[in-house]
């Protein structure tokens, strides 16, 4: 294919960048598919995944990059440094790759205390050690005071492909099962509460972790049946599954009562008028498996540390085409769309 035929038209027409363009929902997708992909890659119509698979001189590998801007820097259950390692490890893992090496860029704000920086570097070192990935390269930039919320971190990871699994949304078929690795919403709600604007007291902790051990256990038990995986970070489970439904031109039907969730997440979402399916996760992933592999996959996850609550939450169906439908045990149904903008609490 020549460069000339690969360039797709730019369709991004928004007048300015809004917070919504970074929230992982519809606006983010429009920005990537309408501007970045056509100009930088040239094939906006190809399903976009969490990591790119490349073949260099006959060696297959996966590459991904991720930026981390989180406020506050530390929160119950984790911190920006830990997120920055786990996020990239997870993007590779759900693409069927084992992170091998990582490069890191720090954007630091003048005035950042050495204590805070030291703690985050240490958090990264520990997370990298736990995930079995080496941090081999880096860069540092310092910006004026007040310009970077303390620090921003970008990590880029390369990984080797895990044998025995092939992730492709085009392989998803009606009747396939949708599995989830554990309870949703912990990270997003923890961050919301850690900002201190709400006087809620909960025991919630961010779920940030490497999901690689779970993915490896899953592949060992049900590799040939795995069609698709994704870690539902910003935009939550609803956004990931809507992307899947759109990419594979099928419908996703979820059983609401099966979706695992801590009571504190449910309670906070009820009070604030948020949909837990739109809340960010940092240590969970979704899997679509062929129905005959579903039990083996769930068993393998349940037997692995941290996968005890993994379960089937839904099925791939012919309809609703390109959408996600949630059903309740009493027969109510509703469509769940991608997140539009940031999740905003509803008060009045």
């Amino acid at each position: 294919m020549t460069a000339a035929t690969r360039v797709s038209p730019v369709r991004f027409r928004d007048a300015q960048i809004e917070m919504a363009h970074g929230a992982g929902g519809k606006a983010s997708r429009r920005l990537v598919e309408g501007l970045f992909a056509p100009l930088l890659y040239g094939a906006a119509h190809e399903p976009l995944s969490d990591a790119a698979l490349l073949s260099i001189n006959g060696t297959s590998l996966a590459i991904t990059t991720d930026g981390f801007v989180v406020n506050p820097l530390r929160f119950p259950g984790g911190s920006i440094g830990e997120l920055a390692v786990n996020g990239t490890v997870n993007d590779l893992a759900v693409s069927g790759a084992r992170a091998q090496a990582m490069a890191v860029t720090y954007v630091l704000e003048a005035g950042l205390s050495m204590e805070v920086l030291h703690a985050e570097v240490l958090a990264m070192a520990h997370a990298a050690q736990r995930a079995g990935v080496r941090i081999v390269s880096g860069d540092t930039k310092v910006v004026e005071h007040g310009k970077a919320d303390g620090m921003y971190i970008t990590t880029t990871g390369i990984g080797s492909l895990i044998r025995g699994v092939n992730i492709n949304s085009n392989s998803v078929r009606p009747g396939d099962k949708v599995l989830l690795s554990g309870p949703i919403g912990d990270h997003g709600i923890t961050i919301l509460l850690a900002r201190g604007d709400l006087d809620f007291k909960t025991e919630l902790r961010s779920d940030t972790r490497s999901v690689l051990p779970l993915v490896e256990a899953l592949v060992a038990a049900a590799g040939p049946g795995i069609r698709w995986m994704r870690d539902p970070t910003r935009g939550g489970v609803a956004t990931s599954l809507n992307e899947l439904a759109r990419d594979c031109r099928l419908g996703v039907v979820l059983d609401e009562d099966q979706i695992p969730m801590h009571d504190a997440v449910r309670g906070a979402c009820e009070l604030l008028g948020l949909d837990p399916l739109h809340i960010a996760n940092e240590g969970q992933f979704l899997v679509v498996v062929a129905p005959e592999y579903s039990d083996a996959a769930i068993n393998a996850l349940n037997l692995s540390a941290g996968g005890e609550n993994a379960c089937a939450i839904g099925t791939i169906c012919m309809e609703p085409l390109g959408s996600v439908l949630v059903t309740t045990s009493y027969g109510g149904r509703r469509i769940v769309d991608m997140l539009v903008g940031d999740p905003l609490p509803r008060i009045c």
Partner: protein, 376 residues
């Protein structure tokens, strides 16, 4: 989860739905208005329409405070916030509501100091921590949120916090229901009455509906069982030829309302002679202004208000949808020019707005089925 799961118990929900089917006269068509946006949201979120027989039609009412706000008020509020050293504080509900030159969030992206707060007292806290700025709280809501605004103003006065003011858009529910009933194109059989508003005003103010119009009204909670049980109660009244005010939401709503909250309202607010509602036009005695004793904390008196009046885009039929004359998808712009991402009217923004609720939870359920039917 306590106090939630009991009201979503599948078996009870199914049994109540069966009771509704038994009670509904198949030869009749029932038009029931749920006044409150919270009910509209719950009906779509829990898929309750799937549980009701086809001859019970739920009409979405005007009880979404963001939706009934005319665009000019948003423009006025944002214009005041353009001044230097002003912090514009509002609930998350307001943030994506379009003004003529964009929503509060879009103004924030252009550099305006816009903050999301969870209560009016959070806005007052902002004023305390930013003594060199003026914090303007853009207040919205029916009698549900107005008492907390009132208490916040009382505290601001008591503490002498002078860098704080309220731009009051508080409205009252009863005149809106009256306006809907006076509208000639409405033929309603019964009302699902607002739950949260009634925790404050109680059940008595609805008694005139019964007297004047002979329409049953049941004050309802927001869980699936609450709403279905309210429909059962309404059907029983209709069958018996009765029309009275009943309280399904007794666990929260006292018949006489909340005296302390009503007292705070009376202390701080008085009725405006008239106020413009989107879609419903000017309704007399339907909104709250801040009393003279609190004039110093009234944004409309502290600052020069432009008093913008903006007519809605001609093609948009927000008014008809707000009154329940049109269903959301019957509006010419629905799902095409007007979507949650690019809303033209506020009904498409607030999750309590019937257009957003319909767009998010409902329309593709049917749209995709029919499309599949054609291509299969």
């Amino acid at each position: 989860m306590k106090f939630v799961d009991e009201f979503r118990e599948p078996e009870l929900v199914i049994r109540t739905a069966e009771e509704i089917r038994r009670l509904a006269d198949p030869s009749r068509h029932y038009r029931v208005m749920e006044v409150c946006g919270g009910h509209t949201h719950a009906i779509y979120r829990f898929g309750l329409k799937d549980l009701l027989p086809e001859n019970i039609e739920l009409i979405h009412g005007p009880g979404c405070p963001v939706c009934v706000l005319p665009m000019g008020r948003i423009d006025d509020g944002l214009a005041l916030a353009q001044q230097t050293d002003v912090i514009f504080a509002a609930f998350g509900d307001m943030m994506r509501v379009p003004g003529t030159n964009g929503s509060p969030l879009e103004h924030k992206a252009r550099g305006m100091d816009v903050r999301i707060v969870y209560s009016p007292s959070d806005a007052l806290k902002l004023a305390r921590t930013n003594p060199n700025k003026h914090v303007m709280f853009f207040a919205i809501g029916f009698e549900t949120t107005a008492p907390s605004t009132a208490l916040t103003l009382m505290r601001a006065k008591a503490e002498g916090i002078r860098n704080f003011s309220v731009f009051s858009n508080h409205v009252t529910i009863i005149p809106a229901i009256r306006a809907i009933l006076d509208s000639p194109d409405m033929r309603l059989d019964a009302f699902i009455g607002p739950g949260h508003v009634s925790t404050v005003i109680g059940c008595r103010p609805y008694e005139w509906i019964v007297k004047d119009q002979y329409k049953p009204i049941v004050i309802s909670g927001f869980e699936p069982l609450d709403i279905l049980q309210s429909v059962v109660m309404l059907l029983r009244q209709l069958q018996a030829g009765e029309a009275k005010v009943e309280n399904q939401y007794k666990r929260v709503v006292p018949w006489e309302g909340n005296r302390a909250a009503l007292h705070a309202l009376a202390e701080v607010f008085q009725l405006r002679p008239y106020f413009e509602w989107r879609g419903l036009g000017f309704i007399s005695q339907s909104a709250l202004r801040i009393r003279d004793a609190y004039a110093e904390w009234d944004s409309e008196r502290r600052f020069e208000v432009p008093g913008v009046r903006v007519t809605d885009p001609k093609a948009a039929q927000c008014g008809e949808v707000l009154k329940g004359v049109l269903k959301p998808h019957q509006c010419k712009l629905f799902g095409r020019e007007c979507t949650p991402e690019h809303p033209i009217g506020a009904l498409m923004v607030s999750s309590e707005g019937s257009c957003a609720a319909y767009y998010n939870y409902e329309h593709r359920k049917t749209a995709t089925t029919s499309r599949l039917g054609r291509t299969a």
